[in-house]
Symmetry: C2
Amino acid sequence: MTRGQDGLAAGEPNALPNPSAVGLVAVIVAATDGEPRALTVQVAGQAAGRETGLPAGPLVPEHPTLERGLRAWVERQTQARLGYVEQLYTFGDRDRQGDDSGGLHSLSVAYLALVREMRSAGLAEASWRNWYAFLPWEDWRAGRPTALDEIEAALLAWAGGTPDPKLRRRREDRLGLTFGLGGGAWNEERVLERYELLFEAGLIPEAHGQTGEAGSTDIATTGQPMGFDHRRVLATAIGRLRGKIKYRPVVFELMPPTFTLFQLQRTVEALSGANLHKQNFRRLVAQQGLVEETEEVTSGTAGRPARLVRFRREVLLERPAPGFRLTPSRRSS
Amino acid sequence: MTRGQDGLAAGEPNALPNPSAVGLVAVIVAATDGEPRALTVQVAGQAAGRETGLPAGPLVPEHPTLERGLRAWVERQTQARLGYVEQLYTFGDRDRQGDDSGGLHSLSVAYLALVREMRSAGLAEASWRNWYAFLPWEDWRAGRPTALDEIEAALLAWAGGTPDPKLRRRREDRLGLTFGLGGGAWNEERVLERYELLFEAGLIPEAHGQTGEAGSTDIATTGQPMGFDHRRVLATAIGRLRGKIKYRPVVFELMPPTFTLFQLQRTVEALSGANLHKQNFRRLVAQQGLVEETEEVTSGTAGRPARLVRFRREVLLERPAPGFRLTPSRRSS
DNA sequence: CTCATTTATGCTCAATCTGAGCATTGTGCC
DNA sequence: GGCACAATGCTCAGATTGAGCATAAATGAG
């Protein structure tokens, strides 16, 4: 098992060679054409065959800092400067690791990284995938996701499927809180909680047999599975990012040097999974002073040409570094 | 080095026995009489003698989940139900671990826990300490901390102490961003960034020699040191908690079953380190529906008796689970 | 060339939300 | 009784928000 100088070996199967080893996982996010993408790799699955997963590998003590090591590795893989890197969470569940053959604990330290360009040059087995392929119920941009009809039915059945009235009540409460069932609102940040609920309810194939019930495994409804519980990591990343853009100007790390306000809006919408009121969005960006105009305007596209703007890096040094408040509109179909 | 059944051994020196081991660290927070406290223990210092630190110990694979294991351990130690547990961060800097004798990487997974009662029964070497003893510049409740005068002077000297004009500019920018120097505002959430800046500037004794400069080490100014870079963990916890109370009703985990609105306000102020406008605070709590009145009122204290209220647990199931927006007032001296 | 379509941009308006205070009401204490 | 100290009620102006209306400036179909 010789490795190069990389701490993380992306293309390789990431079955942990040493059960007590610590691993790194990265959710590397880009946004192109208004779609949110995550870098995925093909890994050796638990069963035979290969399956999709996130870039991951064992932690090697090459760099003085976890983040520094991750940064260097990702930048080499994606040929892109990392605009933003954030530690997400350290997962240590023995029952969710995928391989718990050894009795020893193994940890995965997960990171979120935002990149501007999406050339994945070199990396043969890696590809950028729309992240909603894995979590279809999270995309409300075209209105309520159709996947939710089936999901809700299955969840209600799951909640009602227990004889214990107290447990049933608790399950129903969780449904209301996470999926907005029973009059609650959809909170776009509760991505992880929704995934975990589906997992418990047996709707996630990765849970194979761990939770008694078995439900629909239609990929169009419950999304494409990933190896090693990596969908949980992805869900964590999306939820975190959706929260972050509201109070920190991190979206700009995904944008090209100059862009139009509408492109910016599309990107924010892609991340948050909801549509925004256009005029109010520009007003927000304007008064926060997040961007400055360039001389150029777009051309060739449909509609009136838009002015190109660029991110005002100075805002990072100003006030409580603002982001975007998200307020869904009814612009959807 | 026999240990009990506890994954974390609090009273014991936590010099990692195996340099590749993963450790847990916990910031256990309580609030009594309007003061924020953290549970501390005495540990064997890097040099001779004992010094203060946070409860920590090696991770043992006893529980299926990291959080579950930490929860069980803390509850046993503090004799209190943990209201809230949150993973903070995983620290992996080789140059900050305190002992980096072995070449291997060692990680510390840090957790934040909130407890209601503060009986630390049993635990001989543990004690609750006002967390501002370790970070005196973070407490603005009695007005601008006097410690800041000296700190600012030292920081300005540090920033100006480099010949490279670009580096100097960057340092000054960071001073403005974190400490509000040069016209910026004080952002109470940037606790960690402030600590790290002081660390870099050589004002933190724990940095002994790692950063060239050596500055004031007056404890009243730069706070009481901790072993193993645990002050960084504490700073992370405080910053995180200060952010959290603004949008999640976590303060209530620190309150007794019933309390007055003013006690609640005192607790929020203790955590955030800033004073709030009283009338607006109650208005906020009222319209958010965070509490419900009880029959009882206080007596024996100075001033008009206050109505006792209790937390409405139902809000956890309602809307985007609100917290407190903090807006400092000028009530301070 | 003209019109329908599409996107960009400017502006308005009412409903809230916020930050700051003023005023009044109860209690324990001297 | 008069004070000091809290608890509560209410007001008010300014800023923020959520929703639209209206207009301008391109492209592409016919």
